[in-house]
Symmetry: C2
């Protein structure tokens, strides 16, 4: 196999498996060549990716030396994704009679949600999370893609207790938008003690459901190490939760039309993680 | 930019965007080179991928010539994924007191579900689907990854009607395992008429919920063009639905231990799609 072909194949495999460790020996065996050749290939791929802001390859030296692909996106691409989301949510006729916004098509669209997850994966690359946590149903898409990019498992809290979850822990929370007490549950098997959890959700209104997830984490002696939400409604003041990263801020206007602002912190020139 | 760097960058971009069309002009502009150079790069990537069963690049000729990456997996990798799933579901102490199997951790694990989705994406690459459809909650992971790999939108049927879905269509279905009549609903906005839908679900017992999805598709004048399920329980006979592709067949044994068989049709030597 020629060098250029190896570079192509290694790039493909690393890209398909973000944040997963591969030993140099794995590739050396796969292509029947010396580890030193693989090492040179990886150096070339790393330089190419960095040039184009496609991501970074992190390498560990030594006999057990390995490589992992850490996804990154350029500031330009981040802004393109955010503008695409803003435009989609602002489309005419999304406002339902109930005063809520129809969002299911966007929140289950792999293009939009993979884009949102890329931004979260960059923001939380250094969070130290060992689990992503969300609550069903419409946050599952963005949470799952974020978990994939960070190479972490995902736990999904249920709105009701389910027989297929075994012994469960339940917490009550105040749904801010409907001012009702609701319940969410999680299987006792779902989280190990002292888990560091990254919370990813779709839409945060008063923050009640994220507060509920935090209460649940406390029941498992787990710790929240970051919160991401695709949309935050009604301004940032008075939210029941701590530090978090929204992508879009929803303005509730009166003439049956919704506008969204992009989180200005994501538009500022960012340091690469 | 040197040829080997272009090959690396193009491989990365195509791999991250399965089944999406890119024009040669897009890459020519991105790298500031002639379309003929890009065309040669793509020929090299295509040959490398085919050699390693990593996928195929489909190209269209002419002035509007373009390229798309169609994911594929080798028979060897298919069997590795299936064995990994079988082993995970057969782990000790998954059997709950309710007689059901604890599966949430596997069904929301990106590694396992991306693997399952790769098999479905290969099986249904020629189905002509323009939408993936599932019903909440635990099938969403595998359905979303399948939708991503086929570059299709996903529609998720709800178990209850939700105010955030606007006008909905509801259908009743007989849950075979609990012999209860249940309801599922879908927003009227979710499917266009004459949609060709690929149904992806996690666990099929009597097939009632898939029959419910089929009834829902009929309400939208949509057509089912394929059914995939991670697990089918209780044998294939007497299922309420037509042709479908299970990955694993669950044997319900009496001593509180479950065993799974890999669908033998997936183990047979397959033609590349």
């Amino acid at each position: 196999m020629k060098k250029i072909e190896r570079v192509c194949a290694i790039t493909h495999i690393l890209t398909e498996n973000p944040n997963r460790d591969f030993s140099l020996g794995y590739f050396a065996e796969l292509f029947g060549c010396a580890k030193s050749s693989i090492s040179e290939d990886i150096k070339l791929i790393r330089e190419t990716m960095d040039d184009g802001s496609l991501g970074t390859l992190e390498t560990t030296a030594g006999t057990k030396g390995g490589v992992r692909y850490v996804p990154a996106i350029s500031q330009e691409e981040t802004e393109k994704i955010l503008l695409g989301l803003k435009k989609a949510f602002e489309e005419d006729d999304r406002m339902l009679g109930s005063g809520l916004l129809y969002t299911s098509d966007i929140l289950f669209n792999p293009d939009y949600m993979k884009g949102a997850a890329r931004i979260f994966a960059r923001q939380f690359a250094r969070s130290g999370a060992d689990m992503v946590v969300t609550v069903e149903t419409k946050g599952i898409g963005v949470a799952l893609f974020t978990a994939e990019l960070l190479h972490l498992p995902l736990a999904v809290l249920r709105r009701e207790s389910r027989v297929s979850e075994g012994s469960i822990v339940s917490v009550n929370y105040m749904s801010g938008s409907s001012a009702r007490i609701q319940q969410m549950s999680l299987s006792k098997r779902a989280l190990k003690p002292h888990t560091k959890a990254l919370i990813i959700d779709d839409i945060m209104r008063a923050g009640g459901s994220i507060k509920g997830i935090e209460d649940m984490l406390a029941e498992f002696d787990a710790q929240c190490c970051g919160i991401g939400a695709v949309i935050v409604a009604g301004g940032i003041e008075g939210k029941k939760i701590g530090d978090y990263v929204p992508l879009l801020l929803m303005n509730e206007t009166e003439n049956n039309k919704v506008t969204m602002d992009i989180n200005p912190l994501l538009l500022a020139k960012q340091q690469r993680p």
